[in-house]
């Protein structure tokens, strides 16, 4: 009898697994993966959508733009979020994806609050990230070593940052984190830390920097639109569910 019980349990388990497979395929749930800079917006939209359409659920995950692009290309998710254009990422077949430009967002350099540095020139910023400036006193700050926090390679924010700030300079190998939120909390807690964040993640725990005397606000940034970040959302052709 006991053996029967065990076999019955195994069968029940495998049935549950099969049931799990099935419920995944009926299209009531959509998964959106990618850019963590875009994540707050998509999360808010998803919540609203789910509230209006009962039973339909949008699952929003971060992971970085590279993740969004590679996952949508493989068809593993229904929506890929990216703040890069598909053509800019090596190995992505851009013609197989449908690009929906949904938002633009600015990127701003941020530093630890205790630092007290308020303004940098674009060149100084590039020199910090290329490792030519290693102490804050070289740019008029306190005698404090610079701690660079980078995003992971393949991150859209990092690619955009390197494209517009670093230009031809090479980024010095430094700490890397794989999400915007993690970068923010580390900059907030590490003396002398500098990194860059999408506007949507800036809060009171970190201090933003003026660049060439221009403060990173929505108003100033909108005037310079086209120079900094942009966001795209990709939906694979085969997977157009929304």
């Amino acid at each position: 009898m006991r053996k029967r019980g065990v076999i019955g349990f195994l069968v029940a388990c495998s049935l549950m697994l099969l049931a799990g497979c099935q419920s995944k395929q009926n299209g009531q749930s959509v998964t959106a993966v990618g850019s963590s800079a875009l994540q707050p917006l998509i999360e808010a939209l998803a919540e609203e959508y789910s509230a209006q359409h009962s039973g339909q659920f949008i699952n929003v995950q971060g992971g970085g733009s590279g993740t969004g692009l590679s996952q949508i290309q493989e068809g593993a998710v229904q929506m890929g979020n990216s703040d890069l254009f598909a053509e800019e990422k090596a190995g992505i077949k851009a013609d197989q994806l449908v690009d929906h430009k949904v938002a633009v967002v600015g990127i701003t350099p941020v530093v630890n609050k205790q630092l007290g540095v308020k303004n940098l020139t674009l060149t100084q910023l590039a020199q910090i990230f290329s490792g030519e400036i290693t102490n804050w006193k070289q740019v008029g700050g306190p005698n404090q070593a610079v701690v660079i926090i980078n995003r992971a390679q393949g991150s859209g924010t990092r690619t955009t940052f390197e494209q517009w700030v670093m230009k031809k300079r090479k980024t010095k190998p430094a700490q890397e984190q794989d999400s915007t939120g993690m970068v923010r909390s580390i900059v907030a807690n590490t003396p002398g830390a500098i990194s860059y964040l999408a506007f949507s993640y800036v809060d009171k725990t970190v201090a933003t920097l003026k660049l060439d005397g221009i403060a990173p606000t929505d108003a100033t940034w909108l005037r310079m639109l086209g120079q900094f970040g942009r966001m795209n959302m990709f939906i694979q052709r085969a997977n157009q569910l929304v």
């Binding site: 290309q73 992971a152 393949g154 991150s155 190998p173």
Partner: protein, 307 residues
């Protein structure tokens, strides 16, 4: 045909259920073997593509120190030098094992020789509790307690091999301790009795007889702990800083094979060089854990207590 002959010729119910049971267990074991082989094949085919398909030199892969798979150096060769990660992985692993072993041996001796009762009542549950804590919790504690502590004591940003070592030390301690306890418990009683009969004190017995006899078992525990430390990803990734730099000291940001893997694998596209290079790292990890396993077997075979 008379019923007795029929029952002798036909398979009995017991024999039938025996065959069924054998088939079931055969199916399970072959499924496991198949999965293991499939994983090996998959990781190897992806990992070796870096060298055969993308023509990266294996020697350069193991000895160069700049990791930038999406860029090419001045000779047009992709920058895939895994040395910083390899050193980082071995660094945190050996340091954590070095730190954990004395504690594990001390706890083991306390639990078997000095105070078995209290050991069983207090230390055993504590160790079991430590095993059950998910690694992300260790990482989070490391990030919010150990990293700032390292920063205030030693300076720097706090992220680095030292912080990783501290987190891994706590993570592998229960593994090493419980295997040390098993090893000490399996030392035959008459070893102790003989030693005491010769006039040795308890300390002399413990130090010269029990520990010596249990050395292979303790070493096995240490290697198991190292294998766990080597493969741990999340907790280490949170505290080590993830900079693909050669570690100059213990408090500058470094990286391990696993931390680079977890950071990068989602960000790369299947089939690209950056992705293949990550699979090569995974292959390296797999080979290392294989080596740890072989080491355990070797120690076990060499040092088995002969009775």
């Amino acid at each position: 045909m008379d019923p007795i002959k029929a029952s002798l010729l036909k398979k009995s119910r017991a024999a039938k259920s025996e065959t069924r049971g054998k088939l079931l267990s055969l199916f399970c074991i072959s499924l496991i073997v198949f999965i293991v082989l499939a994983i090996f094949y998959f990781v190897a085919s992806k990992g070796l593509a870096t060298f055969f398909h993308d023509k990266v030199n294996l020697g350069r892969f193991l000895t160069q120190s700049s990791w930038n798979p999406s860029l090419k150096d001045s000779h047009g060769r992709p920058e895939v030098g895994a040395l910083p990660m390899i050193l980082g992985s071995f660094g945190v692993t050996f340091l954590a094992a070095l730190l954990a072993t004395p504690f594990a041996i001390g706890a083991g001796i306390f639990m078997t020789e000095i105070s078995p009762k209290r050991g069983e009542k207090i230390l055993q549950p504590v160790m079991e509790l430590l095993v059950g804590i998910p690694s992300v919790v260790y990482g989070f504690i490391g990030l919010s307690v150990i990293v700032p502590a390292v920063r205030t004591v030693f300076g720097g940003s706090g992220f680095g091999i030292l912080a990783g070592t501290c987190v891994l030390f706590v993570m592998i301690l229960p593994t090493v301790t419980s295997m040390t306890v098993d090893a000490l418990k399996s030392v035959p009683r008459y070893y102790r009795e003989a030693s005491l009969a010769l006039g040795a004190t308890r300390w002399q017995t413990t130090w010269k007889v029990v520990l010596r006899a249990a050395t292979p078992g303790i070493l096995t525990g240490v290697v198991f702990g190292m294998a766990r430390a080597f493969g741990e990803a999340l907790a280490v990734q949170m505290v080590i800083g993830n900079a693909a730099l050669l570690p100059h000291n213990l408090i500058t940001p470094a990286s391990t094979l696993t931390s680079v893997l977890t950071m990068g694998i989602g960000n790369t596209v299947m089939g690209s060089l950056a992705n293949n290079a990550l699979w090569s790292l995974a292959l390296l990890l797999l080979l290392m854990s294989l080596m740890f396993n072989l080491l355990v077997r070797l120690i076990g075979r060499k040092g088995a207590i002969s009775r």
